[in-house]
Symmetry: C2
Subunit: 79 residues, 2 copies
Amino acid sequence: MKARVHVTLKNGVLDPQGKAVHHALQGLGFDGVNDVRQGKFIELEIDGTDAAKAKAEVTEMCEKLLANTVIEDYTIELA
Amino acid sequence: MKARVHVTLKNGVLDPQGKAVHHALQGLGFDGVNDVRQGKFIELEIDGTDAAKAKAEVTEMCEKLLANTVIEDYTIELA
């Protein structure tokens, strides 16, 4: 079973990496960009076929390791 | 208009960051994980409402800056 996890900075948290990308895009002439936020995307290949169990497990992984929940949000999709 | 871009390593390209996450998860006792791949997730807020034009522009951004197309793939979703 595949799990796709998005880890993004919470609203209001400064995103210097996104700002740098935004600035670089402007330098390349892309003037139509108003904002850029950069996050992480993690694909996990996990054992088992029980979606509820997998979701609980991936949630625990996010809380313990994948996301810093003080400043980051995460979303989980199973496929 | 919002564009969501996923930048992932191509199949066959070594992913040391994913390997490190995999190893850390195993260290925390998550034994059911078979593979981890880590990529980037970029959210862009762009001017205009023409989806075709926006997609063409974001594709150009990916080719020029956001992805290293030698080793990375990218996908674009507009919302």
